[in-house]
């Protein structure tokens, strides 16, 4: 029971963190067709900026300012980097974001070194908020969940209920037509890219404090975020939300359950040796593999993803 509850909470936490990163990426991906490899780098940038600024101006202003700065950086990258490169096709764009990801990583190393930085949350948030089965649950984690859920709500309303949101939705499938109607599609692209990066930055401000803030943090989350986007379905905010939670839960539960493959097989009635070479592999060992297995299967059997508007 205890394991189940904590796995649920951790899965939820991890899933919501994934959602904060993937919400922007799914819009960027389906609207511009840009496989933005640097998306998680903006997440890292958010964490480092919050760490750097937090020392000067305190955590709360940094929580607000760091994402704004990351968003502005993202918009500038789109306007003066991606847009000119776009003329040379998708492969050029892909290589551009690939290079950008490494560039950001090296810049971060240059300023803050290769070791993790001691980025911590303020005392109010590091206190326990409740106790379950004699284990305390830190307030900061609940804070993160609330922020992520708020973000989902606000984004959903913006997308579904405002004129700008309608334009974005229309541009997801028919960007040229939106332009023919007199709307500035390049400006919409830049704005969405900027906001997407800002959201990744916000995820970094919070995720950096819960996990670790180090130069490898973009690398460790980047691939999973792509899995979320594909599994959720291109351009679908709700899809990204569901897929984030699904993958978050999948991974935490696989780690938490102590069973091996052999145990599972015997559970469904296939008698195998309990500690064989293959059957002895535990679920925890294959946990890192699961999202990518899901990615491959989805691409084969359901290329639109769970809720996608069109094929990847």
């Amino acid at each position: 029971m205890e394991v189940v509850v904590f796995s649920l909470l951790n899965g939820l936490l991890y899933g919501l963190l994934l959602f904060m990163l993937s919400s922007g990426l799914t819009l960027i991906f389906s609207m511009m067709g840009v496989l933005n490899f640097a998306h998680a780098s903006f997440y890292m940038l958010g964490a480092y900026l919050a760490y750097a600024m937090g020392g000067q101006i305190g955590f709360w202003p940094a929580l607000f300012l760091a994402p704004v700065l990351v968003g502005v950086a993202g918009a500038l990258v789109e306007r003066y980097g991606l847009r000119p490169v776009h003329a040379n096709g998708h492969v050029a764009e892909l290589l551009f974001t690939f290079g950008l990801a490494y560039l950001i990583e090296e810049i971060v190393k240059l300023f803050w070194g290769k070791q993790p930085v001691p980025y911590r949350v303020p005392d109010v948030l590091s206190q326990p908020i409740f106790t379950l089965f004699e284990t305390t649950y830190p307030a900061f984690r609940v804070f993160m969940m609330v922020v992520a859920l708020l973000m989902f709500g606000v984004l959903w309303l913006l997308l579904k209920r405002t004129r700008a949101g309608l334009m974005i939705q229309a541009a997801l499938t028919h960007p040229h037509m939106v332009g023919h109607l007199g709307h500035n599609v390049p400006l919409i692209f830049m704005t969405v890219f900027g906001i997407g990066c800002a959201l990744a930055g916000l995820a970094g401000v919070i995720g950096g404090a819960i996990l670790v803030t180090e130069p490898g943090m973009a690398h460790s989350l980047g691939p999973i975020v792509f899995v979320v986007v594909v599994v959720g379905g291109m351009g679908s905010l709700t899809g990204a939300f569901v897929a984030s939670l699904l993958i978050g839960m999948l991974q935490t539960f696989a780690i938490a359950v102590g069973a091996s493959i052999g145990d599972l097989l015997r559970l469904v009635g296939i008698p195998v040796a309990p500690h064989g070479e293959l059957t002895g592999i535990t679920l925890a060992q294959i946990a890192p593999m699961l999202p990518f297995l899901l990615l491959v299967l989805i691409l084969i059997f359901r290329p639109r993803g769970l809720m996608g508007a069109r094929e990847t």
């Binding site: 309608l166 939705q169 229309a170 028919h174 332009g179 109607l181 007199g182």
Partner: protein
Amino acid sequence: MSALADTIATPPARRASGEAMLEIRDLHAYYGKSHILQGVDLDVGAGEVVSLLGRNGVGRSTLVKAVMGEVPPRGAIRFKGHWIAGLPNHRIARLGLGYVPEHRDVFPYLTVRQNLQLGVKNPRRPGKWRLEQMLDMFPNLARRADSPAGVLSGGEKQMLTICRTLMGDPDLMMIDEPTEGLAPLIVRQVGDLIAEIARAGVAILLVEQKLSIALDISHRVYVMGHGRIVFEGTPAELRANDGVRREWLEV
């Protein structure tokens, strides 16, 4: 002459060339290495209905695409005194040039009403076409006003794309093959709608294949063959010209 044609006001007499609303001069366009438009000259005057006819694949769609910059244009294009060749499409649209492309691109996940709302360029300055009025005109659209536009039939989608562009209050509309693949009754409705738009004083450049509709509602027609204009004249002149019809239009 049919009843339709009689209902359209005669356009203001066109003045000497250089005064038309849309002027296209020596326009060329390419897909890769293939030279599709090979020096096209074409005019549309204010309030005028002009049809662009021709067989499949002669480059009619490419012409309207080049005007909107969807295909890179080489040559001179002037609209209401502005040189528009190569401008971003939203700038061209905001000058008052509406474009309804050939594939009935409704926004499938938005409702019919939202599609129409996106036709409005500036919600604080609504034009002369009102959303409710559009829905009144087309009961089929009104009934589906809050359904996703993706579920509409081909004819309904065509009505929607035309009405959506109309919401942006254009002075000239380029409509690419609006009747393609539609049942005769629907073709008739689309024809009526275009006539209605023309009556309101909007100039129209209609790309068509169906001679009957085009000849009925146009003031002037152009026939295109292999990337060039091969005939220019009034519908009556085209009717009288068996040679052009046989060589460039009939299959």
